[in-house]
């Protein structure tokens, strides 16, 4: 085959330009801006700024509400990971057993995945509305549910809102994982072990480990970053700042509080968290939990 030769040295840049422009404008420039913001102090009207060193970082570390958000984000991502993972796995195992109408179940269980978080939040809003919310009513009858004032109740609200859609994502991956397990391995275990439950924990679950770890990472990242729309359409961080995720707090501080320096510093902290998760993923998961 003949290689195409370009006479001009610039044509390759021309073809790369659209992609590079997108990266520059939407990725690199904001990153640079974030670093600039994080290390400067700005007045609220944007008239002037001055270099502030690590003052913004020292400020967020001395701010109790930052730690509240940090604590909430950790709890939130942990609970969401556990809930969505276990329910997704349960549904996948059950759907995998079904003989008739398998694809109907599958389709129905996958649907919520296609819904935008903000829309999920709005729907959760209905369920938890004080006046006509079904779940609000149910929980209120059970223990006097009041998410405006009770932190625990507010947690329940955002956790249910945040989990629902993500269960579908877990379901899809677990189902794919289950179907990737060799049928004969399961059959061999049927001959070797009578108890369904024992067989699940000794054969099926260990063989799903790669999927499980992948989903843990996916769920954590989801709870950290993609729940912005859900928080913004449900509790808006109430009561007080108890249900603000780190992302939501950075947004509120930066765009509502107009403290761009603090928001920048918070963003860089998040960048570090992502970095740690990614390193963890590459080091310990990509390499180690594959059997073949």
């Amino acid at each position: 085959m003949k290689k195409v030769q370009f006479k001009s040295n610039y044509s390759q840049y021309f073809f790369l330009a659209p992609q590079l422009l997108i990266l520059l404008i939407f990725l690199y420039w904001p990153i640079i801006q974030t670093f600039k913001d994080a290390f400067t102090m700005q007045d609220a009207f944007g008239f002037g700024s001055q270099f502030a060193g690590f003052d913004n970082f020292l400020f967020i570390f001395s701010d109790p509400s930052y730690f509240t958000a940090f604590k909430f984000t950790i709890i939130y991502s942990f609970v969401i990971t556990v809930i969505t993972g276990s329910i997704g796995l349960l549904l996948a195992v059950q759907a995998n057993k079904v003989m008739h109408g398998k694809s109907a179940y599958k389709t129905l269980l996958i649907w919520p995945y296609a819904i935008a978080p903000a829309v999920v939040g709005v729907m959760a809003n209905y369920f938890f509305s004080e006046r006509y919310g079904l779940l609000h009513h149910l929980f209120n009858n059970l223990w006097g549910f009041n998410w405006y004032e009770n932190v625990f109740d507010a947690y329940i609200y955002v956790i249910i809102a945040g989990s629902w859609k993500q269960i579908s994502a877990n379901f899809i991956f677990f189902l794919a994982g289950l179907q990737a397990i060799q049928k004969t391995v399961i059959e061999a275990s049927i001959i070797d072990c009578k108890s369904n439950i024992r067989r699940f924990w000794t054969i099926t679950f260990p063989l799903l480990m790669p999927t499980t770890f992948f989903l843990i990472i996916i769920n954590i990242t989801y709870a950290f970053f993609d729940t912005f729309g859900i928080i913004d359409t449900t509790t808006i961080g109430a009561p007080g700042s108890e249900t603000k995720t780190l992302v939501y707090k950075a947004y509120i501080d930066g765009f509502k509080g107009l403290d761009l320096g603090s928001a920048g510093a918070q963003s860089i902290m998040m960048m570090i968290i992502v970095l740690v998760i990614t390193i963890f993923q590459f080091r310990y998961i990509e390499g180690k939990i594959h059997y073949n």
């Binding site: 003989m99 060799q182 004969t184 391995v185 059959e187 061999a188 275990s189 049927i190 001959i191 070797d192 072990c193 009578k194 108890s195 024992r198 000794t202 054969i203 260990p206 063989l207 480990m209 059997y291 073949n292």
Partner: protein
Amino acid sequence: MVYQRINSNRKIKMSFLELQNITKIYPNGTKAVNETSLNIDNGEFVVFVGPSGCGKSTLLRMIAGLEDITNGEISLDGNVINNIDPSERDVAMVFQNYALYPHMSVFNNMAYGLKNRGISKEEINNKVNDVAKLLEIDQLLTRKPSMLSGGQRQRVAMGRAIVRNPKIFLFDEPLSNLDAKLRNQMRLEIKRLQRQMGVTSIFVTHDQTEAMTLGDRIVVINNGVVEQVGTPKEIYSKPNTKFVAEFIGSPQMNLFNCKIENGIAHIADMRINLNNSANIDDASLGIRPDDILISDNGQHTCVANLVEYLGSDMIIYSKIGDQEFSCKLSSKINLNAGDTFKFDISNTLVHLFDNTNGSRV
């Protein structure tokens, strides 16, 4: 040694495994196995052979309990096992792709079934180590299956079956993933182990060499129906049906469509006296390629259209009328494509089938 312990607690009893009118119909209506009955004796090595999709694996899987039985009854050692859980049937299965547990070491793969039966750690250790020594895999016990070669995996799969000390071994085409050399080696080893342990075994294969060499008895299955049950010798020398005649033997048996009048077969202008008084309009006369006797004063003459040289033997392809046939003979005979040759067909070596139902006459 382990096999002696296995032998000691078995009483010799006839009809160890009994299949009675077994039928399998899949939910989509496919009839995989049709009214199959079979008796297998204790300690016997039985091979199910047939083309792919003939129902031989389904039959095996029904014995294992991995497949529901639509109709009929299976009993093992005097007990009906139709509704007994696969883990409690006292059977062990070796799968085509080995089906080892990829996340467990070789030791744990072999110990898994024992652990689930609540056997003490010490006993498990002893059993696994004994069997590992028997199969020469005692150096591999700590490895994961992904670190083993195909032959080693095969041994582990066998070991996993042997430690269970089952009443019956079920082999589902266990050699078909191995290369030719290893396959022959493992085949001999399976045969040796089975003899040593004396455990009743059923071996499913589509390979007639495996069937002939391994089986005490062969069950030839086609379209979900047993065509013939017999020793390898019986199956080869006296095939009951046209299907068996064609399926067993390599190169394939020659089958000439012909008309039989008063015991004389008419194949084109060739006449063969069968020395009986049969009259069949539509018959098949079968003769194995190595039963065609070539000699200079033979009765019939043909032209060798093609000669295949196989080392010690050669195969000659020729035609009688418009029907092709082959003969196998020593390659020491000097015969080239295009040459004519003379041969005899002895009426003691032919097989006669009625084409209307395919059965032997």
